[in-house]
């Protein structure tokens, strides 16, 4: 059979239309087309809600190394954060993943230190975590919208969408984000892992999520529960009657690098109980 160009194009066109038609017909179930109907989903009844979640860290309440350790441990165990160690037992800084950690005053509040500062303040470790900024640079740079703002002010991370480009890590002025260079499962102890929460996979960025999943089932963040009494205060900073708001309004608190315009929502009480 001989065929000229015109006939060939006709046949090719008709068959591609038929092919497309078949693939469309295949995906006509409402759920494939429209997604979930809003009437099919609702939030958990016990969920804690806020306009803007915020945290006050009262450094005077953290007295011993143990106070820091148990707070950090509570978070990292709750979220199956991998604990990479060197053969000698020290933290492997190269692969370290951290949601909440200790740092020095100079590093937490650069530019606010001075030569004559109280020795104790200079050497005191500070508890730092994601600041859940009002205007987060990480969200602005994320090419896949894997990190985004929830309506309650939390800067959320969707591990399913993260492609591991690490733009957010470059953008975050607080170093609050960690990359999974190797499979985090290797450093999560199956004995102590939280079976109700996933781990992460190789090649995604992770960080503190203000315990979104716990708030949504009516629980306070894990660090807040584990911290010494009054050490971490968590609440809605937009609510004039909340504990957090009262502290922020009545006492002098400082935030990390507010001059960058990111609007960090972790407030630090520094002077301690004796002075404040």
């Amino acid at each position: 059979m001989s065929m000229d160009r015109r006939q060939f194009l006709k046949i090719a066109g008709i068959s591609s239309i038929l092919g497309l038609g078949a693939s469309v017909a295949n995906a006509t179930h409402p759920i494939w087309v429209k997604g979930l109907d809003p009437s099919q989903v609702e939030p958990n009844k016990d969920a804690l809600n806020a306009k803007k979640w915020a945290m006050v860290v009262d450094m005077s309440k953290f007295k011993t190394d143990e106070d820091f350790k148990k707070t950090i441990k509570a978070c990292h165990l709750t979220h199956n954060v991998p604990d990479f160690r060197n053969p000698d037992g020290t933290v492997n800084k190269k692969f370290e993943v951290k949601w909440i950690w200790q740092t020095s005053y100079e590093r937490a509040f650069p530019g606010q230190e001075n030569r004559y500062m109280e020795e104790h303040l200079k050497d005191m470790p500070f508890l730092v975590l994601c600041n859940h900024c009002e205007n987060p640079p990480c969200v602005r740079v994320c090419p896949t919208k894997a990190t985004f703002k929830l309506p309650n002010g939390i800067t959320m991370q969707d591990m399913h969408r993260c492609i591991g480009c690490r733009f957010c890590m470059a953008a975050c002025p607080y170093g609050a984000r960690s990359f999974n260079w190797i499979d985090p499962r290797k450093a999560v102890n199956p004995e102590t892992e939280n079976k109700e929460y996933p781990t992460r996979t190789i090649g995604v960025v992770e960080k503190c999520t203000f315990c979104t999943e716990r708030l949504q089932s009516g629980k306070m963040p894990a660090c807040v529960e584990a911290a010494p009494k009054g050490g971490l205060t968590f609440g809605d900073v937009e609510d004039p009657n909340s504990e957090v708001r009262k502290i922020v309004t009545t006492k002098l608190t400082i935030r990390r690098k507010p001059e960058l315009g990111t609007g960090p929502q972790i407030y630090y009480l520094i002077g301690g109980g004796d002075h404040a």
Binding site: I31, W32, L36, V41, P43, A47, T199, R200, T201, S217
Partner: protein, 142 residues
């Protein structure tokens, strides 16, 4: 019509057809076991006792063909919209939209439920790279 080098071509074609169809006649007569996912976990039996029948969040036929899409939508709902409860369109019961705490709470037999069909269909979903799969004790006994 004359076929140049006919013998060589025909032998070549026969060899090609033989290799291409090898998987088919290799498997002739072998029983191709259909996947049979098991829904007899303690949690499901408990459910059956309580409600008088086995039921998933949506009808069985829908779940068979569209569970992957449903789970995908659940994920967006939970992570992005903070809605964690799913109301079944079939039974109007509420379910926790969670792979580890919802699906796998009932279907605690991943090997006999998920893997049974996924292996048969040669699909490799990467759910378990992150999500922790239920521990299956009965598997080690048998």
């Amino acid at each position: 019509m004359k076929l140049y080098d006919g013998g060589k071509i025909i032998i070549g074609l026969l060899i090609f057809v033989g290799i291409a169809t090898f998987p088919f006649y290799y498997n002739i007569g072998k029983v191709n076991a259909k996947p049979e996912p098991k829904v007899d976990t303690p949690a499901i039996q408990e459910w059956e006792k309580q409600y008088g029948k086995k039921e998933c969040v949506e009808p069985k036929e829908f779940m068979r063909t569209d569970h992957m899409q449903l789970v995908n939508l659940w994920r967006d709902s939970v992570v992005r919209s903070m809605n964690r409860e799913y109301i079944s369109t079939a039974s109007h019961k509420k379910f926790n939209m969670s792979l580890q705490n919802g699906c796998m709470h009932c279907h605690s037999n991943k090997k006999k439920f998920c893997d049974e069909c996924h292996n048969y269909m040669a699909v490799k979903p990467f759910c378990w790279d992150c999500h922790i799969q239920p521990q299956e004790k009965e598997e080690s006994k048998s």
